[in-house]
Amino acid sequence: MRYLTFLLAFLVIGALAPQGWSRVQGPCVDCHTMHNSQNGATVVSGGPYRALTKGDCVGCHTGTYSGGNIPYILSESTPNYGTFGISGDTLAGGNFYWVASTGGNDPTKGHNVVYLADEDTNIGKTPPGWDNANFPAAGESGQLVAGGEASWSKQLTCAGKYGCHGKHEDEDDFRSISGAHHADDSTIDGSTVGKSFRFLYGVIGIEDSDWEYQPTSSEHNQYYAVDRADSFIDNPANADPKSINYLCAECHGQFHSGVGNTAGADDEDSTVGSPWIRHPSDFDMNNVKTKEYGAYPGPFAAAGTYWPAAPVGTDDLSAGVRSQVLQTDDDAIVLCISCHRAHGSPYADLLRWDYGECQASSGSAGNCGCYACHTTKY
């Protein structure tokens, strides 16, 4: 009887676990080997690896996801991207397969992380839109990604000084991410790497429990973002480092904001606004609800339904994961990842869909996610 009680308690506790615990779960042996030796043979070739793992970042996160405790971001065979990447086995951040030298080997289809892809032959090492004077790494007291080098001297890594995840002081991926996997992430507040959204230090949000494996309108990440139209100030110094867009801006700052870089408004009193000179991010579509954007997601679902293929953000996470947007101010904020997948996609420029297939006035939205927001353009 006591065992049954204990089991029931365990099940209740499990059921009460809040959505979004990314804290590693499951058997330790799945990820660790103490000596990289078993029966006289190595457990994992190329090892031993740091933190006694069975591989580096790429090694551990390589596979085809169909459920389970490890998110796979690099597949060994062509991933099932499905339509818009929300019906197959591609997770929220995308898949490096299409950029990986062992896969598609196309530098336009993913971030060229050094461990899995060659240097981008078109761009080199320095990210497009790189602003080495602004967007210091969140929470790191002025620490700029890549040490603020005008031209990057090293290729992109998973984490660290030249990476996206973890802190940016140290070049070493493992040290930059140390302690995150097993951190108590019941509260995502950006205070540590482990308590940051997807280990993106300083960024907050609500993490989907299975990394958006086949997400729906009610089961998805909830991204945090801000609406800069409230103040209409386009100064990078005022950007909110907790926003997922800020993470992108740490490398692609000129695509986010910058006095003089986005000044295109015809309003003499502002430096941002329509007519835009770059696609906006960290702006709320509720501000233009009376225009075509009020019909989001256009032809893809009922108006106001959150569509995970073209996600939007909110500055209020207390409401939880939103299945309906354009209900209240700042619940439909345009993101960089409204259009891109950070790891990679089947499409050029890491887009979520094939932009070349976007045909204005064709009468059909087809496979063009732009029309989720630009609802009158097809």
Partner: protein, 378 residues
Amino acid sequence: MRWITGFLLISAFFVGAAWARVSGPCVNCHTMHNSQNGEPVDENGPRIYLLDPVSTFTDACVACHSDESANTIVEESGGTRIPIVLNLQEPTYPSDGSSTGTLAGGNFYWLYANAGVGGENQSVYGHNVLAIDGVPPDENLSEAPGKPSIASGPNCAGCHDRVERCESCHLPAHHAPDTGSPVVGKEGGWYRFLNSSSHPSDETGVIGIEDDDWEQTISASDHNEYMGCNNAYGNDDNSMSNYCAGCHYKFHGLNYVDTDGNAIADNHSPWFRHPAHLPLPDDPNKEYYYYNNPGGTGPGLYNPIAPVARDPDALLSMTGPSSIVTPGQDQVMCLSCHRPHGTPYPDMLRWNYLDNCVAGQGTPSDCGCFVCHTTKGE
């Protein structure tokens, strides 16, 4: 047989009137971040509305609607067609239906070719749109000739004292849905986007039928259709000529104002100024009855060299261009004699008034005046 009849009827419905709404791949005209392969897509960018223009002019409108060749319609892959209003090589005038045929509104080529060359007549060949690099202010004019007195406020100068930019006359609406009825009005972004950018209203916007290739190919049955007026005193009524009157008010209709600014009398025959937006008299005893048919027994076919505007009620029910001209209904208008962008002739006239309009000599093909003034030629 019924299928053939139906097909022919449907085809006839669409002949000569087609959607001007921009179509084709979005990527033909737009770049999200003005960045590709680490380089700017447009060296002069980023541009407003995320535009990626075809030429290097500073102003985005001019940059898209200009071309280094004499071709007056640029065709991009996927079906995008761009009307050209500024060619850097001389287009064919008047249009002969070829790819270099001057479009309905004219071409800034002759103004641009003479701009800055000095002399008192360098600006007589078109509107001096200052947004065109190299086009100076009109050396003869300090304000729009015939400017209405009401347009003298501090915010009026950009349109009424000079033409600062394309938006001085046009209110861009490239994605407006101009489907359905061939008559284009508010819902379709107004005829040729003609409405005030500064003070648009439902009355100032122009209504009309847009020829599907901007009159590059032209005939009596293949042309624009312009809306005439329901009042001849310059009150906004969606007509083409009352739109011109927004700047050239004193040249319009029955208004006559003396040099001291006093309204003397209605402008009737004998006219003080050439009439506009008044019907051709339905009187066989007058030469105008024989429009385009000097010496004939009735009016001739519509002559695109000297077009007429249609009675408003008639236009709204038209299904396409008509070759019929009806005295008593069809009206002389500003565009009967002028092309607003420019022509090879001074005062933006459609024909060579100085050399070819010789009383007692010539035909309508020599001098467009004789299309209406049928007894004044040979």
